[in-house]
Amino acid sequence: MMNTNFLRQISRQIRRHPLFYGLNLLGLGLGIACAFVLLSYVRQEWSYDRSIPDGEQIYRIGTNFMDMGGFAISQEKLQPVLQEKCQAVAYATRFRGSSGFTFEADQQTFPVDAGLYVDTNFFRVFPYEFIEGQAGDALVTPDQIVLTEEVAQRIFGTGPYLGKTLSLKDEKSTFSVAGIVRPFPGKTHLPAGAWLSVAPQLSDDRSWTSARYYTYVKLNSQSDKGNLEDFFAQLQREEIHPQSAPNTSFETWIGGSQAVHFYVQPLQEIYLYSDLNMDLISGGNPTQVWILGIIGVFILLMAGVNYVNLSTATASARAKEIGIKKTMGANQSQLIVQFLGESLTLSLLAMVVAGSLSGLLLKLLETVSGEVLLSSILDGTPQWLLLLGFSVLTGLLAGAYPAFHLSRFQPVWALKSDSMGHRKGHLRNVLVVFQFSIAAALMIGSLVIFRQLSYMQNSDKGFQHDNVLVIRNFNDLGTKKETLREMVEQNSQVVTTSINSRMPAGYNLWRATYQSETMDQAISLNGFPIDEHYLSAMDIKLLEGRNFSGDLATDTSNVILNESAVKALELEEPIGAVLNDDRRVIGVVSDFNFESFRNQIAPIVFNYDVDGYQLAIKLTGNDLPGFVRHLEDSWSQLAGDEKIRYYFLDDNLAELSAKEAVLSRAIGIFTVLALFIACLGLFGLTTHATSRRAKEIGVRKVLGATVSQIVVLLSRDFLSLVALAFAIGIPVAWILVNKWLQGFVYRIDLNWWMFAAPAIAGVVIAFLTLSYQSVSAALNNPAEVLKDE
């Protein structure tokens, strides 16, 4: 029979010791909330594409050819090759992404922002549940469309929807609904909204060196990733190599820049781990998932430690009760049940606190990090179970030690002794050190991440990027391009303008192969098609030679290199050197960071091209809104309906460090919370310690101790623990931040003050936490304390 007396007892104890239980509840609640939010985030990031049936048999094929880097899209002919020749493949599908559709039905327009152009195998590989229609019948002709139920409802109202028609805005074609599907229940990297037939876009492209389609395969149940990789090895050797480079050996070809490579990516790893170009959605960040997940676990541990510490510290108060109960016939297991019951009750109360805090925390996280890290928190049974699980687990783990420790007391001893709190102080000290070591590592970590972030954002990148506006659809003006440029340049704010096809930080694929006279094989390098104003607009420094000139027609076959390209092309005397296709080097510019600081600055070849598709405008920055108005006016005079699309270069550069910015702010928040939890524990412990030593303090004051001597006496022990914690936390943090920084080619140097400053701050914060209790104890009138002797 379960004895529920402890429930009554605990509610009375809460009323009797509101501070003790308040601290415990706040600490536990906050800890559970942090862990819950962070691990929900981890769970969400890991959950992508796991609700797709047979997902572990589905793979995506990415490709890399001409050394252009890895792409999530692949060759048009890959799908039929896989379907016909690869034994391991049950179904192969190819499809294209879409930025969204605008549909018209009944003279109304309906934007749908998630859509794909797919083939008839698509619904075999991805078995969406068909509410209306059948997977086999859908999209067999190009005038069919498949919608999700939600989209169909938005467009047509009520069902059944099969056979209803709609059209694409600005196009004559109409489509009839051939299927209504239910999206996969969990998160997925596949957009779901509307599916159209890809058939009209297919062009019978037989090249192995162009890519436009996503290719996914579902393997038959006997096959695995290895079979697929074997197939590609064979395909390279027996088909692609003989077709594309019959005159070179396979080994030379596969190791050179002309090779065609394939990536086999398991479906469930795409979201988190794929870092290929042209991915369907921008993927997750595994480093961030790991870091935040581990922080979540540690914060929960810290909150649990608070509970253990406060429970064992107040053991003396409970000792008498344990002695009595044992004398009354309670055995150890009955007492363990009581104490675990107490900690479970507390942790369930903490769960209520955590539930309400987690929503706030999520809001705070979103506001500060500027990104929706987690789409929902207390949504659905699994999440509630997760929260409940956390709370119960915390209650059991945190309650276990006090339960076994306290219930072991020998009754006689427990009744006699009123100084249990003094005993077993070692464990409490170890746990305090543990907590503050974590807090120390977090403080150092967030400082270093913050410094690296601000280095990435503020350091000299080798070119000027402020006040540069880029019109990305400049080409839409056609013959009026030069007119707009003249209109813009009349504005007094404009320093200069440059027509080009590539800006730093922009997403661009200009690459070409180059070879100097001394090289055996051509290499693939970044191309920057620019006009003669580009270098001055971006303030890129010319080290040698000359800039392009508008007056020299021959400049179209001349190139300018950056320093890295000079090295890559093995040029000793770059100016005047001749590359393949009679390209002559006329200038060398200094290297500049046009990509993320994670990457080494890549070699660049600048070509002269006055017909670029975008216009960069360097401004003085005095009145940006005024200039934007002027620009939009000029544009609409020339372009009519077509809207101008532009961006500021600074915003694009900020994107390069967006992941670090989010991580930095998220860690910042949790560092503050972790420190707060550690201080809550410290506050509780000092409260207990000072009350235990009240008499001693009184006696010392009577004997002539000053207030500051008492404060030092009371703070010394705990402060040395905190100092020890930093001594442990610093090397740990050093190893971790060093490892993190290794991910960056351009990074800050670790400096002693990055460790010293958090350490000093930590000790000061700990001292302030302690001082409230110790100062007020020191100020007490000794007569008050001593009179009830």
Partner: protein, 233 residues
């Protein structure tokens, strides 16, 4: 009921060994009301705790109803303790967070008595001790005498055969002390065996036998009255 043969209790104190009890030989019959007296540090409480199985001896033999307690494991000892013994302390040792009612009920909870039975047993005892009106009060709302009354009520709620009392009136003034001793006498008349530790000669006179301990040895053992005939209730 109780037989002690050459019972010893020693503790290590630094490098030395100190004997708290030395070669104790003692027999206690069912129905006796034994008073253990002696100066401070004579080992009275230690003897009481060993009898009550709250402490173990370090040598010698202890038979309780012919069961060799010194050979039993802790679990079995606890069972015997639970079944036969009740304890009264000098400092009452009530649980602060529990009401009078709940304090008295506690021993029944650890003996898995059903809720309905518990209610009637506790109601019975409250009635018998005249503390029904106090049942919802907390210990700190009671006088010392009342607290000890609750302490005794709690000690006998599960009908122990042996009641062990360590200076039960030590914290009470004389009037309250008399009330508790009258209660003990009454319980003894009803057949409960009692062993009490006390300094008070007056309290000793309520009993049937006085054992005097000095330095861990029995110095004197004297029967002062006949064991009362059991009054059935």
């Amino acid at each position: 009921m109780i037989v002690l043969k050459d019972l010893e209790k020693s503790i290590r104190s630094g490098l030395k060994k100190v004997w708290l009890l030395n070669q104790i030989n003692l027999e206690i019959q069912e129905g006796e009301f034994v008073t253990i007296m002696g100066p401070s540090g004579a080992g009275k409480t230690t003897l009481l705790n060993i009898l009550g199985m709250l402490e173990t001896s370090s040598g010698g033999e202890y038979y309780f109803y012919d069961e060799a307690i010194h050979r039993l494991n802790e679990r079995r000892r606890n069972e015997i303790h639970k079944e036969y013994m009740g304890f009264v302390f000098q400092a009452y040792h009530l649980i602060d967070d529990l009401t009078v009612y709940e304090n008295i009920e506690t021993p029944l909870l650890y003996r898995n008595v059903k809720s309905k039975d518990r209610k009637s047993i506790v109601a019975d005892v409250l009635d018998r001790f005249n503390i029904v009106a106090k049942k919802d009060l907390f210990p700190d709302q009671l006088s010392g005498g009342q607290q000890q009354l609750v302490g005794v009520a709690r000690a006998i709620i599960h009908k122990p055969r042996l009641l062990l009392a360590d200076e039960p009136t030590g914290n009470l003034h004389s009037k309250q002390g008399e009330q508790i001793m009258d209660l003990f006498k009454e319980l003894n008349d009803q057949g409960v065996t009692i062993v009490q530790v006390t300094h008070s000669e007056k309290n000793a006179e309520y009993g049937t036998r006085i054992i005097e301990l000095v330095d861990g040895n029995i110095k004197n053992d004297e029967v002062i009255r006949e064991i009362p005939k059991r009054i059935e209730v």
